[in-house]
Symmetry: C2
Subunit: 550 residues, 2 copies
């Protein structure tokens, strides 16, 4: 047996806060305890797994068993619209139906709850129970008078029709029920009403079959945890993608872009309940939102377009305030989305929020903010971001490179760029990426003398790593090969050999290769290079080396 | 049994001209035939394995058995000084001793042959037989008169002393012989003479023991074949290096730089008999020559310095006319050596020879010649090389890049450089390395408009590969991220997604990553990138990725 059988669940969670099995053990213990003693645990549970419908449901039902109605309502408020989990919603309508009986507007409240549930999760293949309970509830309503009776029939019919136009499990049963219902209402009219709908029902039935097949193996109860790249996990990702792709084909053949979109978005939402740590799924969902908005606008359906556009912002907010909090990619995507919509202030807030995260490295966020400000307000304003970033002690060297290159590429001012690099060099001279970026820059502006000066300054330093030292010598040799005369080339070649002799274990041929290569042209075969112990070939060109002679 | 047992040796050699076992089978057959029928085979053999002493020896001995003295002499001439193989040389002195008896200057010729052998291969650990035969030969010479007798004794003593001051096998026997010899000459003097030398003998004996240990496992009969990177082969390379390194420590503790050098060079020469296809060993030997020249010059020993300098040229010639013919690296090293010595004409001849090789790609050689001419004659002369290369149909696109960058970096003329690139683009636009080099160039000179133009021209072409298409879209996005405004950035971002959608299998997040990275700063963890299927991360920074947030 593994160590997990020896350690306590508490200890296991300490070691791995995403050990779902350990949490489940604690959950079982907690549910047997009085709610007052279990509440702290439940709060921990839903904080750690904020999109786990199953855990919210367990928490709520425990409160409900203790009849803490106020707590129950607060909990539903916290999770219901963020976590579109079918069982959680079933729990909700059950709660509404069972506990609101004493209220004067009981009927209206329950109808509203059912309508809301159908709007939010009625698409779910497991939604049939909600439809049937809703119908039962409507049927049970006691009404007086023909008008009210007609209204009741019409309401029940509407829910039936909604149900059998949706691929849900037990579709046949619902259809049979509906037929019986119509025949009971009016046996003469029934035939026509049923005939009108039977084709739709049959098509939905076919789609349901396809869905059942496609969703086979999908673990919808899986709790979102950071991916570990296991085969089982990848299998789930593939299955979810297949399901989403299926919905994108518009299997119900609806003309309504809004409905098609809703079904795809529901598929994404369901996927994100289990794959909430997969940034790409979040982003693909957002991209789908945007695509649909374009489609709707082209069709002139501006109202729905605007709703979905707002949904996109909400989706991003849900991601970045939840499981994607530590994934700058999604914050950036959100900022970018707002930028394309012209919401520049909003975009800025998003960048700033990311920059102000505690215990995080804000460098990339600063650089992206700087880019954004340059685009929307110009270089002058972007310079202020650079100043702000420079003064932020958490920032890495990259900001200097970004700042310098902005001056070079946007203001076309090589002098200012060089000053910024020079300034950065004092602080970050021993960092390979910074040094190479600076030397690259000087090479590009053809400033041979300063290139030499900077390289020599770096080589004199005692702080630079062996790797950087080698790289700098290589660049020095490149420079002299490119522009030097025989004397300067020989001098640098010799100095380089002397300096790197130990590192290269006196393998003189390795020094030679660097003298006589050009791009992917090598002065001997790749086999020869490998045998000599030359290891830069893979770094420089991935596999497709050619040799000058054959 | 392997297929080799089924195929005839001739067929095996057709399949692999370096199948030494097959050649050996044919050699055995040939040596049983009359020489007239075997000569063609022997010529093939020594052409295929020009530095194999064993094969030359077999050829010569066959001619000798047939008493074709003229052929024997011609063959010795062809190989003796190029192939310092101990058995071949033993064969030579035997031949001289046994066949020259009828000549009036017989004694002088044989003495000369022995002296030459000792000069060339006397260092060899297996040279004792040569010393002993030489001594025996000298002892057998009949002389008349005390003066001649004294001369004879002195000549024998000299060879003895040379022998026991060299770590050769059977050193003890030689020493005992020597002692006996001195005692026979003059028992009174013997004691002092022996006492004078005993310390040296004892030290040499110690060195011999070390050598025996170091050379254990060294297969000195191995024939040079192109390396295949096997473990056994690497083992031999390591052993040779160990032996060479040992000689470099000057184990005999000689003050004479020349003698130390000679021993190291002999070790290199021996290694190259078996490792003649290892470019690095050739070059290391040349480097050692150069190092010794510097040392000798510092000590004021200019004559020996010059001899060794001439030996370096000869070494390079031996390499490039022999097994290193197809290895441009060694040709370049040779040209470079001549350049540093000021022999510019010689260097040019070497480059030209390499360029004129049939069936070879001369591009790299042209580029190196262009560099060389620029260094020694200036840019104007180098331009002529560029023109010559352009007109050479065998040349690849690299020459245009080299020519353009020379104008940019050396003449500091971006316009001329751009014209050259433009010219090359017409011919090589579909070659990724060329296109990216051109776009890089335009980026470095901050020519945003032309960068856009060139990228778009490439993207419109139907000939470019998917790989280049992706790369160009990446560069386009980089450009707009760097200098574009919100509109142009969005336009390119969208166009790129549309163009690459199929390639990226609709994985929108992959497009996003490229928007929001900066150097080695990534907008999510490397695990996340891997899971998304983002595969550029390894190409861009080898493993040391950092993420902006933690």
């Amino acid at each position: 047996m593994s160590t997990s059988s020896i350690l306590s669940p508490e200890r296991r969670i300490e070691l791995n806060p995403f050990d779902v099995d350990a949490w489940n053990l604690l959950l079982r213990e907690s549910s047997a305890r009085p709610i007052d003693q279990a509440r702290i645990f439940y709060e921990k549970l839903v904080t750690q797994f904020p999109n786990a419908g199953r855990y919210w449901k367990a928490y709520i039902e425990h409160e409900l068993r203790a009849k803490n109605i106020e707590n129950v309502e607060k909990l539903f408020e916290r999770c219901l619209f963020k976590v579109l989990h079918i069982d959680l919603w079933k729990s909700y309508v059950y709660y509404m139906k069972e506990t609101k009986g004493h209220l004067p507007d009981f009927r209206e409240q329950v109808v509203e709850a059912f309508d809301c549930a159908i709007d939010r999760v009625g698409i779910d293949i497991q939604a049939s129970q909600i439809y049937l309970e809703y119908i039962q509830f409507l049927k049970n309503v006691e009404v007086v008078g023909q008008y009210a009776e007609n209204q009741k029939v019409s309401a029940v019919r509407k829910v039936y029709q909604k149900a059998f136009s949706t691929p849900v499990l037990n579709l046949d049963g619902i259809w049979q029920d509906y037929c019986t219902f119509e025949k009971a209402v009016n046996v003469n009219l029934a035939e026509k009403l049923i005939a009108d709908r039977v084709k739709e029902y049959q098509h939905v039935k076919k789609v349901l079959k396809q869905m059942e097949q496609i969703m086979q193996g999908l673990n919808r109860q899986a709790i979102s945890v950071p991916p570990r790249g296991t085969v089982a996990e990848q299998k789930q990702v593939d299955l979810w993608r297949k399901y989403i792709a299926f919905e994108k084909t518009n299997p119900l053949r609806t003309e309504e872009v809004g409905l098609k979109a809703k079904r795809v978005i529901y598929a994404y939402d369901q996927a994100l309940l289990s794959l909430g740590y997969h940034a790409d799924i979040w982003y693909e969902s957002a991209c789908f939102h945007e695509k649909i908005v374009v489609e709707l606008k082209e069709r002139g359906d501006l109202t729905v377009a605007e709703t979905i556009e707002q949904e996109t912002s909400k989706l991003y907010n849900r991601a970045t305030s939840g499981l994607m909090k530590d994934t700058p990619l999604i914050h950036f995507a959100h900022a970018d989305f707002e930028e394309t919509k012209g919401n520049y202030d909003m975009a800025k807030v998003i960048y700033d929020k990311l920059i102000n995260f505690e215990n995080s490295d804000p460098t990339l966020a600063y650089i992206m903010l700087m880019n954004f400000v340059r685009r929307t307000e110009g270089v002058r304003a972007a310079r202020q971001i650079f100043q702000r970033a420079r003064n932020d002690k958490r920032c890495q060297f990259h900001i200097y490179i970004a700042g310098a290159l902005m001056e070079f590429h946007c203001s076309k001012d090589a002098n200012v760029a060089q000053k910024i690099f020079d300034h950065g060099l004092k602080q970050y001279g021993n960092i390979p990426e910074f040094a190479t970026a600076y030397v690259d820059f000087l090479t590009h502006v053809n400033d041979d003398n300063n290139t030499r000066v900077v390289i020599e300054r770096l080589l004199e330093s005692h702080e630079i790593s062996t790797e950087l030292r080698i790289d700098m010598w290589d660049r020095y040799l490149d420079l002299e090969t490119r522009v030097g005369n025989a004397t300067s080339l020989h001098k640098v070649d010799m100095a380089r050999r002397q300096a790197l002799n130990e590192t290269y274990e006196d393998r003189q041929a390795l020094f030679l290769v660097d003298r006589f290569k050009f791009l992917n042209l090598w002065p001997c075969t790749s086999d020869q290079l490998k045998l000599m112990g030359y290891n830069k070939i893979n770094r420089l060109n991935s596999g497709n080396s050619t040799t000058a002679a054959t």
